[in-house]
Amino acid sequence: MSVVKRNNVKISGKGQQPMLFAHGFGCDQHMWRFVAPAFEEHFKVILFDHVGAGQSDLAAYDRTKYNSLAGYADDVLEICHELDIMGGIFVGHSVAAMIGILAAIKEPARFEKLILIGPSPCYINDGDYTGGFTRADIESLLEFLDSNYLGWSSALAPTIMGNPERPELGAELTNSFCRTDPEIAKQFAHVTFLSDSRADLSKLRTRSLILQCAADAIAPEAVGRYMHRVLPNSELIMLQATGHCPNLSAPDETIAAMQAFVHEDVR
């Protein structure tokens, strides 16, 4: 199984420099539908689904490998190897921001810059550190995924249906955005929300841009500021956008912030 097929890798754009977009917990590469096209003019845009999400090969899901973020970071590097990515730009949303940091620490030459949207190295409060959640909160999420199994898994199962509100999206895309295997989603939630990668942050040498939303319950402002303080070569931009998904709710503002960062030293 090629990595391209395994991770449902899609490539577009006219540019040379690769720009790899990684989605977070929930949904898949469609998360970038309002943002990625803006970079096709100057970059080689590469989208993919984590194994277990979207149209990735579910058969490749290995409970042991994906029991830590390192397994997902290895997949990012495998994509880099297969596509021969050197000096690219990594864009990671939510937990994928940490996945990108781990990959960049392991093989620094692969990425020139990282764009981290709503990142968090640790979701659970710990002493002076404010992650935004208590351990009981996270257990409540896992319990939610367990007890509401029928409620959300059937709703997220891929079914073909028309979308009267946005006919231009086409029927085949409908409801595949958050296509997920419930068991895999549960493990991904475990791995994401119980991870603690704070000790890794100081090892990163790659330049990074942190995009922090207002009123983001998943990655609160305090976390963004913490990231900025600990990451050696980082910039922090506070967005006007609220919530956890500015790439969906405020694509224009998100694109503008990203453009400034990726073009600042374009030759």
Partner: protein, 572 residues
């Protein structure tokens, strides 16, 4: 509004009020929110359900704020993105946290209203009370988990059956059961111990997950010991200690166990066969257990299978030991027979030779009295008889060792039968011997000497087992591609129960033994061996006190010229 459809004097504002009433008091909650989730408009039903005042919600609260933490994360990571991308989301189950803190299970459906340009403006959400539905779903989920567990258990039992079929020793049986039981109950350790032969101890046959130290201590313990394994065997009852507390209450001396080995619960299931415990299956758990009725049934089923397989393995073992002892005994006897026969034969040959010499000399000199001649004749005859018996014994021992050789040549079975009959005839006093042949040669490929021995044995048997005399018939005939000789008598016959063993070595039917008829029980064995070596068969048809017919059939070599003398010919 068309005037014709409105009755005269009807106040049309009533309809608008009606619409408003429908919105406010519909059996579902209506909530309009701004794009960040902040409440823009809510209906009375939603307020009634959640206990909030309208003002409280419209003062900047967001719909996410009314979700549990888990629900809120799910809202941010799945629900909101889906709504953005797809424009709607249907039937996602959430719990609303009401003003007084209690949770209301609901199903939420949202539609994103957009401007003509496509810009999202407002989310409209319809909320259904799903308390009943959630309860059903939970039951459904439990039922499904139960069904899946039952299916797993059936598969597990099938695997046990398959594996047990191949397990021959108690240790192999124990390994199969312990593995399956540990897997099914997530036990961190398991063992099987069996009651020793003296009935006083328990000995571990197979144990896994325990430290070598623990196994060494429990390897052999007294059945009187006050420990769960021994208690389960003595009482014959399953012992389930599901928590450290239960463990400490029943076995204070084991109370330290959870700390020292990580064991927090124990199950001891006796292995019963015919109402008697032959051993015990022990499982140790690292987490607190709660055994359901299904769990207990499954454990008992496993234990029953284990007990049966252990018993089978034990019997198999015992049988193997007994069989090898018996085989050794037979081997020693055969060796003795062979040596004894050889040792007997040497002096007998000398005895017989000298007796014949004496006979010839006396005959020439004519000096011996008739009485002396008779005595010498008896010595010679009995020595000959002894010689025949010893030769037969030697044959048997050769046959057992596969050393009997057959020298084949074409021979006429008719002629052979006639010769044997002719030889025997002069010795008979109270029997009538008749031969009945088809009048054509029946050529078989065989060893003349051995086949003559076969016919002699059959005819001599017929004589011997009809002590009261009577007719003995030798019938030679062709049946399909076989040449057959049937020897019938009117003697004592053979009991039905003796027929299956008749051709076994040293076997003698009870009525022969009881009737005072002597013999070694090897004549028919020799017949069967020789005929079989010729590719033929021997059958017997007999009725007690009526007589017996023994038939041998040999493959025909070819059929040609006619026998010299056709027709039946009595000899008497």
């Amino acid at each position: 509004m068309s005037d014709t459809s409105v009755p005269e004097g009807f106040d049309v504002t009533l309809l608008d009020e009606n619409l408003e009433d429908l919105y406010e008091h519909a059996p579902c909650g209506y909530v309009s929110t701004f794009l960040d989730g902040a409440f823009a408009k809510v209906n009375q039903t939603f307020l009634d359900w959640t206990g909030y005042q309208r003002d409280e919600l419209l003062a900047g609260k967001r719909i996410q704020d009314l979700l549990t933490v888990g629900g809120r994360i799910f809202y941010d990571t799945h629900y909101a993105p889906l709504l953005h991308m797809q424009g709607f989301v249907n039937e996602i189950a959430f719990d609303l946290v009401c003003r007084d803190g209690h949770h209301l299970p609901v199903l939420i459906n949202s539609v994103q209203k957009r401007a003509a340009s496509g810009t999202p403006r407002l989310n409209r959400t319809t909320i259904f009370n799903a308390s009943d539905r959630r309860a059903y779903e939970r039951e459904l989920l439990l039922a499904r988990q139960k069904a899946e567990q039952a299916a797993d258990r059936i598969a597990s039992l099938q695997a046990v059956m398959g594996a047990l079929a191949e397990a021959l020793t108690p240790a192999q049986v124990a390994e199969v059961i312990v593995d399956q039981a540990r897997a099914a109950f997530h036990a961190h350790a398991g063992l099987i111990a069996v009651v020793t032969e003296d009935g006083a101890h328990l000995e571990i046959v197979h144990g896994i997950g325990y430290s070598a130290e623990v196994l060494a201590i429990w390897q052999r313990v007294s059945l009187d010991a006050s420990i769960p394994l021994a208690d389960a065997v003595r009482s014959g009852d399953t012992l389930l200690l599901e928590s450290p507390e239960a463990l400490a209450a029943h076995y204070p001396q084991l109370a330290a166990m959870p700390d020292s080995t990580g064991t927090t619960g124990i199950a001891a299931i006796p292995l019963g066969v015919n109402g008697r415990a032959i051993g015990v299956l022990g499982l140790s758990f690292a987490t607190v257990q709660s055994f359901t009725a299904e769990d207990r049934t499954f454990l008992l089923t496993l234990a029953r299978q284990c007990a049966l397989a252990l018993e089978r393995a034990r019997l198999y073992d015992a049988e193997r030991v007994a069989r090898s002892a018996a085989q050794e005994a037979v081997r020693i006897r055969d060796a003795f027979l062979s040596i004894a026969a050889h040792e007997l034969k040497n002096p007998l040959t000398a005895l017989l030779g000298h007796a014949r010499l004496l006979q010839r000399r006396a005959a020439r000199a004519g000096t011996q009295s008739e009485r002396d001649q008779h005595a010498i004749a008896i010595i010679a005859n009995q020595a000959t008889r002894l010689n025949t018996m010893i030769t037969a014994l030697l044959d048997v021992s050769h046959m057992e060792n596969g050393q009997l050789s057959i020298e084949r040549a074409p021979l006429d079975l008719c002629a052979l039968a006639r010769r044997v009959v002719a030889d025997v005839q002069p010795t008979l006093t109270q029997h009538t011997l008749m031969i009945n042949d088809p009048g054509v040669p029946l050529i078989v490929s065989g060893d003349t000497m051995r086949l003559e021995q076969v016919l002699q044995n059959l005819v001599q048997n017929a004589i011997k087992y009809s002590p009261a005399g009577g007719l003995i018939t030798v019938r030679v005939e062709q049946r399909d591609h076989m040449a057959c000789v049937a020897v019938s008598d009117q003697g004592i016959g053979i009991p039905q129960h003796a027929l299956p063993q008749l051709f076994q070595r040293f076997y003698r039917a009870t009525n022969a033994e009881g009737g005072g008829i002597g013999g070694l029980g090897i004549g028919l064995y020799v017949v069967k061996e020789i005929v079989t070596l010729h590719g033929g068969t021997v059958t017997v048809d007999s009725a007690e006190d009526v007589g017996s017919t023994f038939t041998i059939c040999l493959p025909l070599a070819h059929v040609s010229a006619r026998c010299a003398s056709p027709s039946a010919q009595p000899w008497s």
